[in-house]
Every structure is written in C-alpha cells, then in structure tokens.
Symmetry: none
Subunit: 225 residues, 2 copies
Amino acid sequence: MKSAGVHHPIFDEIADLARTLGHGHRLVLLRHIADGELAVEQLTQLSGIALANTSQHLQHLKRAGLVQTRRDGKRVLYRLADGPIENVLAALRSLANHRREQIRELINDTMSRPDRLENISREELVRRMRADEIVLLDVRPQEEYAAGHLPGAINIPVGELEERLAELPREKVIVAYCRGVQCVLSADALAILRTRGRASRRFEGGFPEWLASSLDVDGMNYESG
Amino acid sequence: MKSAGVHHPIFDEIADLARTLGHGHRLVLLRHIADGELAVEQLTQLSGIALANTSQHLQHLKRAGLVQTRRDGKRVLYRLADGPIENVLAALRSLANHRREQIRELINDTMSRPDRLENISREELVRRMRADEIVLLDVRPQEEYAAGHLPGAINIPVGELEERLAELPREKVIVAYCRGVQCVLSADALAILRTRGRASRRFEGGFPEWLASSLDVDGMNYESG
DNA sequence: TCATCATTCAATGTATTGATTGATTGATGG
DNA sequence: CCATCAATCAATCAATACATTGAATGATGA
C-alpha cells in the first residue's frame, strides 16, 4: 500500500491525500460539495456519475478526511471538512493552468519551425508582399535593423513587441523574421503574436538568407517589380 | 485512463497532476530536487530508492511537467520546473498537518482524560456486556490474543482495523482494549473507529488489569451471570 | 410492522500502477 | 575504437484502483 522507505511518514500521508485528489470524479464531487452541503443523489445528478460509483468516491473522500457527512432523514449530506482544502485545490488548479500555458507555447514553437503553416518561403513572401497582403516585421535589435533590413520591414525588437503591438495593422498577416534559421527571436515573436490573436508567420531564413539570394536589399524590388 | 465524464477536461488534468504527487517516493524526490539540481544517482542515495525505480519516478515527474532535465557529461541533472509547484506541495503539507493535528487531538483526548466519555470502567464493562449493549474488541496482535483474552472479545489487530471494520456490528458500542494503561494500541483504535463514525470506548486497564482482578478469564463470567 | 426511498456494501472483472530484473543507450576517457 | 559509467528502456509480476452489478442497511411514513 505504501512505500516503506527510510523517510518521514508525512510523505506517505501527503501522498495519500494527493492520490485521493487524483481522480477526475472526486475532484468534480469536491467542487460541487464546496458550494454547499449536498446529498448523494443530487451529486450523481450534478456530476453524471453512477450512483454506487458516486457513493464509493464519496467514501474515499471521507476516508481521506476531505469531506464530512451528516444524516438528514433518509439522506446523507456531504460537506467539506475543515482545513485548507480549498487552498490545495486552488494551488493544483493554478499549477495545471500554468502547465497548460506552457504546453500551448511549446506547440506554437514546434509548429513555427519547419511547418509551412508557420514558415513562409521567400517566393511566397515576395508575391504576397507585392499583393500588399502582409506586413514584414523585423524583430532584431534596432542596431541590426539600422545596419540593413528587408525592404519595407517594420522594426520592433522582440522585447518591445508586447507593448508596441498596436503599431501592427490588424488586417494584414504579420511575417516576422530575424537573423536566420538558428535564431529564435522570430519564433518568440510568433508566440507573442499568436497569443494576441494576430495572424502571423515566420520568414525562417531571416535577413542573412535574403541577403544571400538578393542584391536588391534596399531597393524594394518586390514593390517596384 | 481518464474518466470520460461530461465535465471540463481541466479536472482530469488536475487529477493527473495530483496522481503524480500521489506517491511517497515521488514526493521525496521532489523535495530533494527542490533544494537544487541533482543527478539520478545522487537522488538514489539521498532517497534510498533503487536506481531504476528512481529513474522511473523521475520520468513520471518529468512527464507531468514538474521537473526538467539537462545533461552534464554522463550525468542527467534534474531540477524543478517553472510554476507554482512549491505552492502545491506547501498546501498539501499544510493540509496533511492539519489532519494530523486533528487525529492527535482525538488521541490526546482519550489519553489525557480518564474521561468516562472515552474510558469505561470494569464495572460498566461487565454490566453492559451482560446487557449485550457492547462488543469487546481486542486490538493486540493475534499471538497475544491467542495467549489469553477477555471473554467474548473479538480480535482485530489495530493494523488491520481499517480494512476489517465491517466485522464489527454497527448497532453496538465498541469497547477496545489492549495491553493496559501505558499501551496506545486501543487509543489508536479509537481514533480510527471515531473517524469512521463508530461509537467506541476504551477499557483502559486492558488485559492485564482484567487478569489481575478476575480469575475467570476464559469462563465468560459476565455472560453466565 | 411493512413498504419505500436513499445510501452503502459486497463481489466481480478489468485496467493501471509500481518494483524488480536484465538489456540498451549515450557520453566519456584512454 | 573500446571499456566504463550514468541513465533509461523493456518485460514481467504482484498489488491496487475503478466501474458495474445486485444485495443489504437504515430511516421514514403509512
């Protein structure tokens, strides 16, 4: 049942508590109980869990000291027990949300890399720039931008992106670029832009690739062509 | 793996997190990791958990997003992940302590007061046993029970009490006894019985006192009048 | 006391989890 | 490249947890 290690038994007690919270049904039941005393059948209705199953989970919670009961006629009413139970639930919820956020960002990162949904080719970039469908965003530091950049690009260093978001037109797709394939600035920029609901893509090659494949850096060749 | 209820999936995510914390070994590992980056083998030494087992629990923690790793030469170093992890641990610890306190108070009550609410005198014991109002519970180990016990007593060692609770009739008051005044077995038993809502008292003298004041140990003298 | 309702218990089958063992991978230094 | 060390993987077995079913309990009101 429990690990018989050399450690303080409090760890096993905490583990028991945590395991009691380790089932969706019990969390749902706790949530409802936290709103006020409820009978078993009400809980089955609120939760959609089968009656006997609900009862068993409730007993589990009771054994763990998380809920208490009293009888009212034929009914047995469940209520939260004393103690910082809601603190634990809140802490867990907060941690779960944090984790959610991180996973979402991870997905954004991985998608933004080789994926053509995230990445935009040089050809498509030129074509759509001509059609005025996109706005080019240079997220490198100001000095690097000043030293040379893609024609038509706006410069907002990635660190300032959050507060200067308003400078980007909402009706166009934003294409971010930075120093090249191994540079993560534009990936970071995408993560920010997407959490703000902006349609955005990445020119993975960055300024170096552009430079390598075109001599017409300052001439805005796609605007005039 | 997960309950497919009608409820918000966040409940299952929280449940997964809680289950990850629901093992003493993982809590011990987390505790050590919280103090700083550690390699797997160091953790096995600190925790006393077998190597492969440690590794598996660490992977579990990693899957759950509670720890992160980096390689340093041959070693893999584990560290706490971002997020309010320590909050959760603190909240759990606090709740466990709260629960502990309550149980301890229960035990203290029974021990500090030779209270007639908790303790039952030999006279009352005999009288109510005759009236069939109570059931006698011997919570000592089986061998000691076999070597002699109070007439009519049921033997359930305190360690087995939780799971064998069903053997005790609900309609009678349970009177637990053990080795005597300085023995805490019956006090522990009372704590268990009362958290389960069983009416229960303690025959503080235990078997020794009974033996000292009666020669009729096996003759069920109070049943025969 | 009997019928009824709400809840719990008991029993069963199935799925998950955890510990252990031995093999495998990955990085290092000779 | 090989031997070595750290860590992980893979496979197995035992233990536990869960859902479901049908029976038992306990309180109520006729």
